[in-house]
Structure formats: structure tokens, C-alpha cells
């Protein structure tokens, strides 16, 4: 089973040199800690920053410099600020190479739900709907099941959809899955996890072809 940090670490293996990357709140944010050496990626924060640096030290804190999670951040050499319309122009026009975000549910067609639980508090979609509608390459980072143990990888979403047919890859605490026209294709297993464990935790159509390798770090 993978920890949150290991989920982020596995996703970081998907990064390529020169990628512009948008990381969502939660596990996705941790991906920035595992960028492979020799690879340079540029983080886009949709509130208007390209080239996001690490969190500041106490003396570097600037209230006017935050990320999309409202956390204080820093800039790097070559960073640039812009307005929200320009930010989403980058996103909608497909210039962001990789988007990593969390999800409440994903179905085997790649539809994602992550913005609302009817009857409970609605916090809103923020930039998620724009991101999933336009990004070519979306990886979901999440736990395989919810707190009550129910699968989050479904044949049919139960929650309001955020975007259709957009998720390409899912990295959970149990495995790595590619979402293809056939469904959830199991690609890699977490240490100590069997195909059976994944099958039991997956309500949607799981496809297992041949030998499934272990996730490598």
C-alpha cells in the first residue's frame, strides 16, 4: 500500500523535462517534492503564477504572493505573474502539459467527480472544471476507496460530474491504472497488494492483461 507521499512520488515519474504542470490541492501538491533530478518542470498556479517556487521562510512571507490553495509561496528566476483570464487562457488552450488533481469518484470512461456532495456543504469547483475540460493529460491522485470503504473507481458516478472522459491515469494507494476505451487497465501494483485486492476495491470495469509489475521507486 502506498502512502500519500509515495502516490506523489509515483506520479512524479510521469514528469518530463520542460513540462508546464498544474498541481491541485492535497496529494497533488506533494508531487513538487519528488521532481526527478535533471528534470525541470514549471509549476502553474491558476491564481496567476507560472514558475511557482517552494514555501517561503518566515522572513520571505509575502501576503501578495500565494498559490491557488491560498498558501504563501515564493517565486523563482523566470517566474511570471498574470491575471486570472490569462491563466485560464493557458489552461483552456491546452498549453499546460500535465494536470494532477484529486477526485471523489472516477468512472471507467474517465469521467471525474470532485466538486460537490449534494446535501452536504458545497465548496465549489474552483478551477477544476476548466482544467478537466481542456487538459490533454490528467492524472488523478487519490485513495482507492472512501472513508467508509466504498470504491471510488466506479462504473457510474454517484456524485455530480466535474468533467467527461478526461482522466487518463489514476494513481491510488493500491495501484496505477490507465483509463482507456476498454476501462480501468491495471498497470502496476503497490507493494503488498494483489490483483485480487485491487479487484475487490474496484467497482468499475477493471482490465488485467498478463503479468502486472510492482510500482518501482
Amino acid at each position: 500500500m502506498l502512502t500519500k507521499e509515495q502516490i506523489a512520488q509515483r506520479i512524479a515519474q510521469e514528469l518530463q523535462d520542460g513540462y508546464y504542470v498544474n498541481l491541485g490541492i492535497g496529494i497533488p501538491t506533494l508531487v513538487a517534492n519528488y521532481v526527478p533530478t535533471g528534470i525541470n518542470v514549471i509549476l502553474q498556479s491558476e491564481n496567476g503564477l507560472l514558475g511557482m517556487g517552494p514555501f517561503p521562510t518566515e522572513s520571505e512571507i509575502d501576503a501578495d504572493l500565494i498559490n491557488a490553495g491560498k498558501q504563501t509561496v515564493t517565486i523563482l528566476s523566470g517566474s511570471v505573474f498574470f491575471d486570472s483570464a490569462t491563466s485560464f487562457a493557458m489552461i483552456r488552450s491546452g498549453r499546460v502539459d500535465l494536470t494532477v488533481l484529486g477526485a471523489m469518484e472516477v468512472n471507467d470512461k474517465g469521467d471525474i467527480a470532485n466538486w460537490k456532495i449534494p446535501g452536504k456543504m458545497v465548496k465549489g469547483m474552483g478551477g477544476a472544471m476548466d482544467l478537466v475540460a481542456s487538459a490533454q493529460n490528467i492524472i488523478v491522485a487519490m485513495q482507492h476507496t472512501n472513508r467508509s470503504g466504498a470504491s471510488k473507481l466506479l462504473s457510474k458516478l454517484t456524485l455530480p460530474v466535474t468533467g467527461l472522459g478526461c482522466v487518463k491515469k489514476i494513481v491510488t494507494n493500491l495501484c496505477v491504472i490507465d483509463v482507456t476505451s476498454r476501462g480501468f487497465e491495471l498497470k502496476e501494483l503497490a507493494p503488498g497488494i494483489s490483483i485480487n485486492d485491487v479487484q475487490n476495491a474496484t467497482e468499475g470495469n477493471l482490465i488485467v492483461d498478463g503479468e502486472i509489475p510492482k510500482i518501482k521507486f
Binding site: 491564481n47 500565494i66 486570472s84
Partner: protein, 231 residues
């Protein structure tokens, strides 16, 4: 032509009960603190507020919610606000949630003389209900309309007395589009200078979009998520 007003109390003259106002900012970053205080003091109510977020309980638009001045919020994300949640669940407050890029573009369209546009964001979701959808080159889009607002209130870092504005860092966010979108645009700035003191190469909002400007005071610039790295 004099755009300079003395303070926020003077700047918000003409904002009336029931109007629609835009407020710049992302979270608590780059919000028009002085003008919000004056609206709360003046008790202008039944407002429809277009702003990416709704502040926190005791700061930003949260102060307007506390005083029950807001009838409707149009935002993309409204977490981190218990009073907001209470008013929403009790039916005192209406909320319209929009994708963040759509919110930004509806402001931009309003300021650019474009009545509507097509975006892929929200297609196939409940956001698309009641909206026209259309296919372009094999992909589905929904039509979104420009916002119609009576006033836009923005916060800039520096401004000159003609109304040219420069924003600082990520406090820029929605401010430039909203500055363009208001029937009347109010700008509050940290530093008000004479024309010619700002480099024309680095002005973000040209003066033509700004109707009233003043130098604000006592900016608190509260930080929502103070996150530091350990050395």
C-alpha cells in the same frame, strides 16, 4: 476630470441596495479592504456580489455576510467560511457557482464588449443546465454570457491620479478584468502617485477603465494559509 476621491466612504457613493457589484481578489489576496469596510459601515444590502471567493468569517466579503448585506454570491469556490455555509443552508443566501476560468472570462467579456462566448468548462455538468451548447471541430462547448454589474471594485498596488493601475504579484488575479467590467469602476491603491510616475510600459490597467481612485489606509493583508518551509 477628477477621478480622485478622498477615501472609501466617498468612493462607494452611488452603490445602492439591490445592486450587482464585482469585487477583485483571490481568497484574501488583492481584495479591496477599504471599500468592503465602507460598504459594511454604510449597510448597503441585498447585494449580488461577483467575486472568486466569499472571504473568511471575519474578513473580506465575510464581513459583508456577517452583516447580512449579501443576497447572492457568484463565485467559483466558497469554502473556509462557516457563516456563508450557515446562510446558504438556511436559505438566506443564494449562490451561483461557476468554473473559475468562466468567472474570469465573463468579467473579461464584459470589459471587452463581447456579449457571450463558448467554453468547454462545465460541458456535461449541472453548470451547463439551461445554457446553449454547440460543437466546434468535434468538441462540445457551452455558451456563457458577459456579466452585467453596476460597480466593480478593485485593489491595486500603485495607481496614478489619472487611474492607471499596477498590481503586485498574485494580488493581480481577477482585478484587471473586473476593472474593465464595471459600469463604474472604483480602484483603491496602496500608493497613489502623480501621472508620469508610473512607467507606461508596466501599467496593467489603463486609466480609461477606472472612474474613481483613492489611496487606501491600514491594509491588513491577512494571510489565509501561512505556510513556511523549514530550513
Amino acid at each position: 476630470m477628477n477621478k480622485v476621491v478622498k477615501n472609501a466612504d466617498d468612493a462607494i457613493q452611488g452603490i445602492q441596495d439591490g445592486m450587482t457589484i464585482m469585487l477583485g481578489g483571490f481568497g484574501l489576496c488583492g481584495i479591496p479592504e477599504n471599500s468592503i469596510s465602507s460598504i459594511v459601515k454604510a449597510g448597503i444590502k441585498e447585494l449580488t456580489c461577483i467575486s472568486n471567493n466569499a472571504g473568511v468569517d471575519d474578513f473580506g466579503i465575510g464581513l459583508m455576510l456577517q452583516s447580512k448585506l449579501v443576497k447572492k454570491m457568484i463565485s467559483s469556490y466558497v469554502g473556509e467560511n462557516a457563516e456563508f455555509e450557515r446562510q446558504l443552508l438556511s436559505g438566506e443566501l443564494e449562490v451561483e457557482l461557476l468554473p473559475q476560468g468562466t468567472l474570469a472570462e465573463r468579467c473579461r467579456a464584459a470589459g471587452a464588449g463581447i456579449p457571450a462566448f463558448f467554453t468547454p468548462a462545465g460541458f456535461g455538468t449541472e453548470i451547463a443546465e439551461g445554457k446553449e451548447s454547440r460543437e466546434f471541430e468535434g468538441k462540445q462547448f457551452i455558451m456563457e454570457k458577459a456579466f452585467d454589474s453596476d460597480f466593480a471594485i478593485v485593489k491595486a498596488w500603485k495607481g496614478d491620479t489619472d487611474g492607471n493601475l499596477i498590481y503586485k504579484a498574485t494580488a493581480r488575479n481577477f482585478n484587471p478584468m473586473m476593472a474593465m467590467a464595471g459600469k463604474i469602476t472604483i480602484a483603491e491603491v496602496e500608493e497613489l502617485v502623480r501621472p508620469g510616475e508610473l512607467d507606461p510600459n508596466f501599467i496593467h490597467t489603463p486609466s480609461i477603465f477606472v472612474d474613481r481612485i483613492f489611496e487606501g489606509t491600514d491594509y491588513e493583508k491577512r494571510i489565509e494559509q501561512r505556510t513556511i518551509r523549514q530550513n
